[in-house]
C-alpha cells in the first residue's frame, strides 16, 4: 500500500512537471510577449527592451524554463508583472477564497446530488425520476453566466434576500463573516455540478442494484432501506468518487465565471486576467496550482477509494492509469 501511494505520488510529480513544460511552451507561442500590454501604449522601445531583458525573455526558452524550475524549487513563483505583488502572496490571498467557494459548492453538490441520484435510481422510470432527470439536464444545460444572472435577478433584486456580491475584504474571516453573501455564488457554482453528479450517482446506483449481492441481501430478509444504504450506497460511491477527482478543473473553470459575476476576486479571475495580460508568472503559478489540485484530487479520490474498497486496499499495486 505504501508502495502504491509512493508510486502514485511519483506519477503525480511527473504530471505536474509535464504541466509546467506544456504551459511554458504554450505561453511562448503567444505573440509579442507581455511587454507592450504591461507597459501600455505609451511605452518606448527602450523600455520594452529593458523589460524583456529584466524578465529574461531574451534568453533561449530552455534556459528560461530551467531558471523557472530552479526558482520554483526555492518556492519562488516570481512576481506579477501587472499587479506589483509576488505570485505567492497573490495565490496565498486568493486561493483560500476560491477554495471556500468551490469546496462549498462541490460539497453542496455532493450533499444534494448523491442522495438525489440514489433516490432517482430507486424510483427509476417513475414520474419523480423523470422530473429529476429533467431538472438535472436543464441545470446542466444552463450556461453558468446565465444561471448567475438569473440568481441575482431573482434572489437579490426581485426578492432582496441575498447580496449580489460576495463579502469584500482581504481575509477569509471577513469573507466568512457574511455567510449570506456566499449563498448565490455557491448556488451558481453548484448548479452544473449537481446535475452531473446526480447523473453519475443514478447510473452507478442502477448498476449496483442489479448486482448479485443485492439479491443475496434480499434473500436473507434484509429490509430494502438497509440494502440501499448499507450495501448499495458504498458500492456506488466507489465509482463516483473515482470521477470526482478529475472534476477539479471543471469546477475551476466554472469558478471563473462565478467570480466575475459576483465580484469575488479569486483564482479563476486572477487566472483569466493574467492570461489576457500575458502576466506569465501569475499564469504559470495558477496553472501549477490547478495542476497540483487536479493531481491531488485524483490522488485523493484514489485514496478514498482505497479506504472504501478493501479489494484495492490489498491489491494496491494495480495500475489504474
Amino acid at each position: 500500500m505504501i508502495r502504491y501511494v509512493g508510486k502514485r505520488l511519483l506519477l503525480a510529480v511527473v504530471v505536474v512537471l509535464l504541466v509546467t513544460v506544456a504551459t511554458f511552451v504554450l505561453l511562448h507561442l503567444l505573440p509579442g510577449g507581455p511587454a507592450r500590454g504591461i507597459l501600455g501604449v505609451k511605452a518606448t522601445q527602450e523600455q520594452i527592451d529593458a523589460f524583456n531583458h529584466s524578465a529574461g525573455f531574451d534568453q533561449p526558452l530552455p534556459v528560461q524554463y530551467w531558471d523557472y524550475l530552479l526558482r520554483l524549487l526555492h518556492g519562488d513563483l516570481g512576481e506579477s508583472y501587472s499587479m506589483n505583488t509576488d505570485v505567492t502572496t497573490l495565490l496565498g490571498e486568493r486561493l483560500p477564497k476560491t477554495l471556500v467557494l468551490t469546496a462549498t459548492s462541490t460539497l453542496l453538490a455532493i450533499v444534494v446530488a448523491l442522495p438525489l441520484g440514489v433516490w432517482q435510481a430507486v424510483r427509476r422510470g417513475g414520474v419523480l425520476d423523470h422530473l429529476g432527470t429533467g431538472i438535472a439536464f436543464v441545470l446542466y444545460a444552463t450556461p453558468v453566466f446565465f444561471l448567475s444572472l438569473l440568481l441575482i435577478i431573482l434572489f437579490s433584486q426581485a426578492l432582496p434576500w441575498f447580496p449580489a456580491q460576495a463579502a469584500q475584504g482581504d481575509t477569509l474571516g471577513e469573507l466568512l463573516s457574511q455567510p449570506g453573501s456566499l449563498v448565490l455564488p455557491v448556488l451558481a457554482g453548484a448548479g452544473a455540478t449537481v446535475a452531473a453528479f446526480s447523473r453519475y450517482m443514478r447510473a452507478s446506483t442502477l448498476d449496483n442494484l442489479t448486482e448479485d449481492y443485492v439479491r443475496t441481501a434480499r434473500a436473507k430478509g434484509t429490509p430494502e432501506r438497509v440494502i440501499l444504504w448499507r450495501h448499495v450506497w458504498p458500492n456506488s460511491l466507489t465509482s463516483v468518487v473515482a470521477m470526482l477527482g478529475y472534476y477539479v478543473p471543471v469546477i475551476f473553470g466554472g469558478s471563473l465565471v462565478v467570480e466575475s459575476m459576483f465580484n469575488y476576486p479569486g483564482v479563476g479571475l486572477l487566472f483569466w486576467n493574467a492570461a489576457r495580460n500575458a502576466d506569465y508568472p501569475v499564469l504559470l503559478g495558477v496553472v501549477l496550482v490547478i495542476a497540483i489540485a487536479t493531481v491531488a484530487g485524483a490522488l485523493l479520490a484514489d485514496l478514498v477509494q482505497l479506504l472504501i474498497d478493501p479489494r484495492i486496499r490489498r491489491a494496491g499495486a494495480h495500475d489504474h492509469a
Binding site: 504530471v15 509535464l18 503567444l30 432527470t133 444572472l149 435577478i153 483569466w272 492570461a275 496553472v287 493531481v295
Partner: protein
Amino acid sequence: MTTLDPTISLAPAPERRHRGTLSAFLGHRTAVAGGILLLLVLAFCFLGPLLYGSDQVHTNLQAARLAPGAGHPLGTDDLGYDVLGRLMVAGRTSLIVGVVAGLIATAIGAIWGALAGYAGGWADAVLMRIVDTGVAIPALFLLLVAATLVTPSVWVLAVIIGCVSWLVPARLMRAETVTLKERDYVKAISVLGAGRLRIVFRHLIPNAIGTLMVNLTFQIADAILLVAYVSFLGLGVPPPTTDWGAMLSKGITYTYDGAWWLILPPGIAIVLVVCAINFLGDGLRDAFAVRGRR
C-alpha cells in the same frame, strides 16, 4: 457417441442485441422526444433561412433594438439584425461546432485510448500521463492560446474545441479497451498474428462504439456549452458570424432593459438543444446497456 438433435439443444437464448437496441431506444420516450426536438432545431437552423429571409450580413443601426413586432417577430438586436433570423444562423454555428468538435474529440480520444489500452506497459503509461497532463491544464488556457494563434472561424473553433476535449473519451476508451482486450476473440486473433492496428481498428474501436456513441452525444452537448462559454469570454467566432452563446452573453447585458427578446431566445435554444442531446444520449445509454435492461 451421442449427439443431441440440435433442435432440442437448449443453449442460452441468443441475446437479440441489435433489435433490442433499437426497440429499447424507441421505448425510451424522453430519448425519442429529444431526438425529435433535435431534428426540429436542425430544420429550424438549416432550412429556416429558406423560409424566413433576413439580412444577417449587414448591420442596420437605424433599426437597432426594436421590440418584437411586425417585420421582426423577435425584434432586433443592438446592431439591427433580426433576432429570429440571427437565431437560425447562430444555431448553425453552435450546432456545427458542437457536432464537429464532438466528432473530433471522440475520434482522437477513441484512437488514443485504444492504442494506450491495447499497448499496455510503457506506451500506456506515457500516453495516459499525457492525458493526465491535459486534464490538469485548464481548457480555458488552451482555448485562449489557440484563439490567439489563429483567428477562430467556425471550423477552426470546432477543431480547437475538439482538440481540447478529447481527454474524456480517451480515458473512457482506454478503460473499455483494457477490458475488451481480455476478450477471447481479441486473444484468438492476436494469436494468429494480426497487427496491432488491425486489432485496434477492426475489433476494439467497433466494439466500444456503444460507449463512444453515448459519449459523443455528451461531447456534443458539452461542446455547445463550451462555445457559449468561449463566446462569453470574447474568444468566439468573429462577427458577423455568431452563435447562441455570443447572442446570449451579449443579450444578458440588456437584462435590466427588459429586452427579453435578446436573452430568452438564445438562452432557451441552448438549454433546449443541450437537454435534447443529453436525453438522446441517456436513451442511447439505456439502449446499449444490456445490463440495465434486465
